[in-house]
């Protein structure tokens, strides 16, 4: 800290001689950060404050008016009421995250270690499908997984599944959709973590009698752990609050919390209950980030964002 302060004020002499320049210098950082500060204030902090205060109000859904009632009890009440949906969301998000980690680790590993000069091309190939809109991609999954879609038809004709077996409308379809849609959020941090492993450190492991398997276990995986955690958070948190996949692929079965929040806001019009649920969701996500910061330090997460 001391050094930073000294760097800002290189010496009293200069300050008195160049008073104007020094004013400009002092104001510059604030002026430069002004757009970002305004952005954060108007589009993040203000809505957050509104949501937090709404969660403590009581609303009349018919008239749409809300009164501050400091109803702290609303939070545990909502958790109890939608316990099943919270748990379903946790399960689906966890399953999707695990699928993503298992699928993207070999991809990220291969690109990082064997991609050669075409690394960027391979990364591009991985990302190209995601240039298509999120909703359209999910709708295509609905088409793929539908009972009359080519995938299910093929499996039925091959007698791998029975005639009345279906995926669409079940939790598996939701997990498939979540896994697909959040794959880049897992693959990219993993790739960054694996790519930055010093190849000479790996050579040192081989030099010190580590076989390929041991070098993988003892050097590559431990050095990739910050990336694995970042991938986990970046996939799990958005998947946890997702409602599009559940609504398109899950049908009416096993509702996720995102859908509940959406319905509470837009169908029931109970802003207080919706805000309470959002606050709970936020707290659970923050808990995950806090855990990450405790285990790996707060610096490493920034490196992967």
């Amino acid at each position: 800290m001391d050094q930073l302060v000294h760097a800002d004020h290189p010496g009293g002499v200069e300050r008195t001689h160049h008073r104007r320049g020094s004013w400009g210098k002092r104001l510059a950082p604030y002026l430069l950060s002004l757009p970002a500060v305004v952005w954060l204030l108007l589009l993040f902090l203000v809505p957050l404050a509104i949501m937090l205060s709404l969660s403590l109000k009581t609303c009349n859904p018919a008239s749409g008016t809300c009164y501050m009632t400091w109803s702290w009890g609303e939070l545990p009440h909502q958790v109890n009421l939608y316990r099943t949906q919270f748990i379903t969301s946790l399960e689906y998000a966890a399953a999707a995250t695990i699928v993503d980690l298992v699928v993207s680790f070999p991809i990220a590993y291969w690109i990082a270690f064997h991609g050669g000069r075409k690394k960027n091309f391979f990364l591009m190939m991985l990302l190209v499908p995601f240039f298509v809109s999120f909703v359209i991609r999910t709708l295509v999954w609905e088409f793929i997984l539908s009972n009359n879609g080519f995938f299910m038809t093929f499996l039925r004709h091959a007698h791998l599944i029975s005639a009345n077996f279906h995926v669409l409308g079940t939790g598996y379809a939701v997990i498939a959709g979540l896994s697909y849609n959040y794959l880049p959020f897992t693959a990219l941090p993993l790739y960054v973590a694996l790519e930055r492993i010093d190849r000479r450190v790996l050579e040192a492991a081989y030099d010190l009698y580590a076989s390929r398997r041991e070098a993988f276990q003892r050097v590559i995986v431990p050095l990739a752990i910050p990336g694995i955690f970042a991938a986990f958070l970046l996939t799990f948190i958005p998947a946890f609050g997702d409602y599009v996949n559940q609504q398109i692929l899950g049908g009416t079965s096993s509702t996720m919390i995102g859908t509940v929040i959406q319905n509470t806001f837009l169908v029931t019009g109970d802003y207080a209950a919706g805000s309470s649920l959002s606050v709970v969701l936020l707290v659970i996500s923050l808990l995950g980030i806090w855990l990450y910061a405790r285990v790996l330090g707060s610096r490493s997460i920034e490196e992967y964002l």
Partner: protein
């Protein structure tokens, strides 16, 4: 008693000079490595003896690092064979070789403590835990890093990291230790200190060291023997003194220290002394056994090291056993420990002369007419290099590979 001691010294020094009868620990036979059509190592033959501090010296791109990497198992030769302790290891994976490496960048494991770094190799060998603990602490003491087991590598200075890298390799007691320019990241003062330290450790553990460097001073300070490499081939091999005092090629003469080289032809061969007539008509004498080929009419470059030359004002009547040249001092530089002169001969060639500051007769000044004399035995002759500027290649060595 005293007689016996003298005998012993003679015997051992005899061995050190000739290296005959010693057991080769590394044998490199006709090894060639080709990268994209260009040979990095070209038909290399080399024997390294047990317990030796051996250096591969050369400018960047001379093939020294490629040679080290082939010994470590990180590269496979295109052709040829490599033996380690009598066993062929040419295509053996690095983790199956009894060789350890100190990498240029240290390549310590950033996620492990100092103890775990040093213990890494022993753990892979499934050694008993108590034994690992004992060996690691002994080794950390040897490299002068006691009580540091728990620290992280990021908490260490460059010099300390290097000691950990050395300990991590040495603790496995390999047949051969490879060191890939380990000092290049250290500042000059620390580097000098580490040279002495490294030599002490090598003497203490008795393991064969193969040291790769582009720094000729570093190689000469520490090595028992060294090779000078250029373009994938060996240009000179022997003890630092042999290679320095008896350079066999123009490249060695200029890469290892400085040399004055004068082009001429062999015009006479009388017994053990050859006469070389320079292009200017001046004649110099050189030992016949120092000629690259004993043949009258051979084009050679006659060389002498700057510190072998005596600079004087006398008329320089040719004394027997001495070569002499007349010239005029162009530049005289006082460096504290001595004087460096650039002397221009009558035909315009510059010679560098180095005289120690031992307080003898008044030092010549620029413009003075002087006579340069040096013993015939300190005169050498080499084939003129075919192409390319020697200076250019020699300075290329400053750049890391």
């Amino acid at each position: 008693m005293s007689n016996r001691t003298v005998d012993m010294t003679e015997v051992s020094s005899g061995f050190a000079d000739v290296s005959a009868g010693r057991k080769p620990i590394v044998t490199i036979e006709h090894v060639t490595k080709i990268f994209q059509d260009a040979p990095a190592v070209d038909d290399l033959n080399l024997e390294i003896y047990e317990g030796e501090f051996f250096s591969l010296l050369g400018p960047s791109g001379c093939g020294k690092t490629t040679t080290l990497r082939m010994l470590g198992g990180f590269e496979e030769p295109t052709s040829g064979r490599i033996f380690l302790g009598g066993k062929e290891v040419t295509y053996l994976a690095p983790y199956r070789r009894d060789v350890n490496t100190v990498f240029q960048s240290y390549a310590l494991f950033p996620h492990l403590s100092i103890f775990e770094n040093v213990a890494f190799g022993l753990k892979r060998k499934r050694m008993d835990k108590a034994e690992i603990r004992r060996r690691v602490s002994t080794m950390l003491e040897l490299v002068d890093l006691p009580h540091m087991e728990g620290r992280r590598t990021s908490q260490l200075s460059g010099g300390q990291q290097q000691r950990v890298a050395l300990a991590r390799a040495l603790v496995n007691e390999p047949t051969l230790l490879l060191l890939d320019e380990p000092m290049s990241a250290l500042d000059a003062k620390l580097r000098h200190q580490m040279q002495i330290e490294l030599k002490r450790i090598q003497t203490q553990v008795g393991i064969t060291f193969l040291y790769v460097t582009h720094d000729q001073e570093e190689a000469m300070t520490m090595s028992d023997r060294l090779v000078v490499m250029r373009l994938g081939r060996i240009e000179g091999i022997g003890s630092p003194r042999e290679v320095y005092d008896r350079p066999t090629t123009e490249f060695v003469a200029t890469f290892l220290g400085a040399s004055n080289l004068l082009a001429g032809d062999v015009t006479a061969l009388e017994g053990s002394v050859a006469t070389v007539t320079l292009t200017s008509g001046t004649t110099l004498r050189v030992g016949a056994e120092r000629l690259p080929e004993k043949r009258v009419g051979l084009s050679v470059k006659v060389g002498v090291r700057p510190e072998k030359i005596t600079i004087g004002a006398g008329d320089g009547g040719t004394m027997s056993g001495q070569n002499s040249l007349r010239g005029r001092v162009r530049v005289s530089t006082f460096t504290g420990v001595g004087n460096q002169y650039i002397v221009e001969t009558s035909w315009g060639t510059d010679l560098t002369v180095y005289a120690q500051n031992i307080g003898q007769a008044a030092a010549p000044r620029s413009g003075d007419e002087v006579v340069l004399t040096w013993p015939v035995e300190h005169t050498f002759a080499v084939h003129p290099m075919a192409h390319g500027s020697v200076e250019e290649e020699a300075t290329m060595g400053e750049i890391d590979e």
